[in-house]
């Protein structure tokens, strides 16, 4: 990978301030800033839902929220606790069947941004939400794909939100539920005929990883305030490469924080 350097011990910032915001608030604000006004977003429950509604309340009032349950142009008045919350229906632009969601919207190429998370994310952005251990005799049985496999295949681009943890970021996932940039046989998305660009960014609680355009490998591209490259490496199970010039990310603004705390998740269902 030309132009990249290995992340080594000892980052740029030695001291760490106690921040006036939580890692979840930071991840949500960063995810919201990734969305452009007018885009069509396939929304998941939890932080992705908060990020979309934060973007709608700030720089992207015309964002179109589509939920896999069939609500299109949803404007939830309460924090949805499930992807099929009745508040997603009330006041939405359209409610369609799930056949329409997957065939007309997703496979039809109408979804510009998909959000995914997972128990494991690997070096090439493959995501596992199926099993820890072997499929036949799992140590932990996870819920499975839901719509995640097809979102990763079809969304024009996919954003992943996940806290860093060595177990959550192994070099290779135990099971590929949602395809990243390179399957374990080395085949790329282009080789396999996938329409979407896949998980181009992974928004973590310490910094941002992006898929290297040439190799598809996730590399460190930006650090949050007060975080060192070592802090990031400590939460990743492979030798992480980094862009030579790391970007910086602004902390959540007062406006973003007050919207999140007072309007979007006042009961702290997701922003713990």
């Amino acid at each position: 990978m030309r132009g990249s350097t290995m992340v080594t011990e000892g980052g740029q910032t030695a001291g760490r301030q106690v921040a006036g915001y939580t890692p979840s608030e930071m991840m949500t604000a960063v995810a919201a800033r990734e969305l452009r006004d007018g885009e069509v977003v396939f929304v998941g429950i939890g932080l992705p839902n908060l990020a979309c509604n934060l973007a709608r309340a700030t720089h992207a009032p015309n964002l179109v929220l589509i939920y896999e349950s069939g609500a299109v142009g949803a404007v939830p008045e309460r924090v949805p606790v499930s992807i099929g919350d009745p508040a997603l229906v009330t006041g939405s632009l359209m409610v369609c069947s799930m056949a329409d969601v997957f065939q007309c919207f997703l496979q039809g190429g109408r979804i510009e941004v998909g959000f995914l998370g997972g128990a494991q994310i690997d070096k090439y952005g493959n995501i596992n939400t199926t099993v820890v251990g072997s499929y036949e005799k799992p140590k932990v049985r996870l819920p499975g794909s839901g719509g995640a496999a097809e979102i990763a295949v079809h969304a024009v681009r996919t954003l992943v939100i996940s806290r860093l943890d060595r177990r959550a970021f192994p070099e290779q996932v135990d099971f590929v539920t949602s395809p990243g940039h390179r399957y374990r046989d080395g085949k790329t998305r282009r080789d396999l005929g996938m329409p979407g660009a896949g998980p181009i960014k992974v928004i973590t609680d310490k910094g941002i990883l992006e898929a290297d355009e040439a190799t598809g490998e996730l590399v460190l591209t930006a650090l949050y305030p007060g975080v060192t490259t070592k802090d990031v490496q400590d939460g990743i199970g492979w030798e992480l490469r980094a862009r030579p010039a790391l970007g910086s990310v602004e902390q959540p603004s007062g406006e973003e924080l007050s919207l999140l705390r007072e309007k979007l998740d006042p009961k702290q269902l997701y922003l713990k």
């Binding site: 069939g70 009745p86 799930m98 499929y135 799992p138 499975g144 719509g147 949602s178 005929g193």
Partner: protein, 307 residues
């Protein structure tokens, strides 16, 4: 001979509908994506002690966790097995993790399950999708295969048709012939019903045919494919019926602790499923529930069907 299901009122009790249409060894679908999941039918299947069922749903949800724990199922066909935002389906997990009675599984993604029911509804052998490349899903389930497009040469994923023996659809309202109107989230109910050999409709309200005819675009399932109609108010609780009652999110959260402990789960089934004769008694055991969850009124603007 007509394909049309019996003429005349199809209204029966839940007990009669399950006795007549759900048999040991059947492939059973109780659909509804978060919305309109018919817990009342699942509970009656448990009470009648059905065995060796193949139960299929996109999201097994709490109802299939209860049915797995009660021992009615031999096999589960699904695409997402969790308790959204609240935790796991622990009876399912115990079975799959080798810590409980065994359960065969057959796993797809949501799109795959929707496609299986679309093929079933159209009486085609399979459905095609651009999907599953670069994943391990086809390795885990050999029924996920590929076909070469005869027009472009592209390799497409395929899933086999699903044609259940019986499908249960919960709805806001239906008439006595089973003409069924649903609003809010529609899930995959239409495809599941058309794919099925027999269909049981369970409705919050039974209305006159004239009500159905006043708004035909709202009819999702025609009576001509329906075998039985059950009038069962609150039959979807703890799931919800848009315009009737909200989802009981507190119960979904409480399920985490109940299902985690096999003794607690068994006690729950004894008290709220086997310990009551029907849904009316189930509701009577929970005073205050109806008031807590009743929907507020928010009527739509009507449309002009005149010409």
């Amino acid at each position: 001979m007509t394909n049309h299901k019996a003429i005349g009122s199809k209204v029966v009790s839940m007990k009669e509908a399950v006795a007549a249409h759900v048999h040991d060894g059947d492939t059973v679908v109780i659909e509804g994506f978060t919305h309109l999941i018919c817990f009342a039918a699942g509970h009656e299947i448990i009470r009648q002690g059905r065995r060796d069922l193949t139960i299929c749903r996109l999201t097994p949800d709490l109802i299939y966790d209860q049915m797995i724990a009660a021992g009615v199922a031999r096999k589960l066909v699904f695409s997402w097995a969790g308790n959204p935002g609240a935790g796991s389906l622990h009876a399912f997990r115990r079975a799959v993790e080798g810590k409980g009675p065994p359960l065969e599984i057959e796993e797809y993604s949501h799109f795959g399950m929707v496609a299986r029911m679309s093929a079933g509804a159209a009486r085609l052998p399979f459905w095609t999708m651009r999907n599953y490349m670069g994943t391990d899903l086809a390795k885990a389930n050999p029924l996920i295969r590929t076909v070469k497009c005869p027009y472009t040469g592209e390799m497409l994923a395929t899933v086999p048709a699903l044609n259940p023996d019986v499908t249960v659809i919960h709805a806001q309202r239906a008439d006595a012939q089973g003409n069924t109107q649903i609003w809010g989230l529609l899930g995959v109910q239409k495809e599941a019903a058309f794919a099925s050999k027999r269909v049981i409709v369970v409705a919050e309200e039974i209305v006159d045919e004239s009500v159905i005819r006043s708004d035909p675009n709202r009819t999702l399932i025609p009576g001509l494919i329906v075998d039985a109609v059950v009038h069962e108010p609150w039959g979807a609780h703890p799931s919800y019926s848009q315009g009737y009652y909200d989802r009981d999110n507190d119960f979904y959260v409480a399920w985490e602790a109940i299902s985690r402990d096999p003794a607690k789960l068994e006690a729950y089934l004894d008290e709220f499923v086997r310990g009551v004769p029907d849904r009316k008694a189930y509701m009577a055991k929970q005073p205050g529930l109806a008031q807590r969850l009743a929907a507020k009124e928010l009527m739509s603007a009507g449309v002009n069907y005149g010409y």
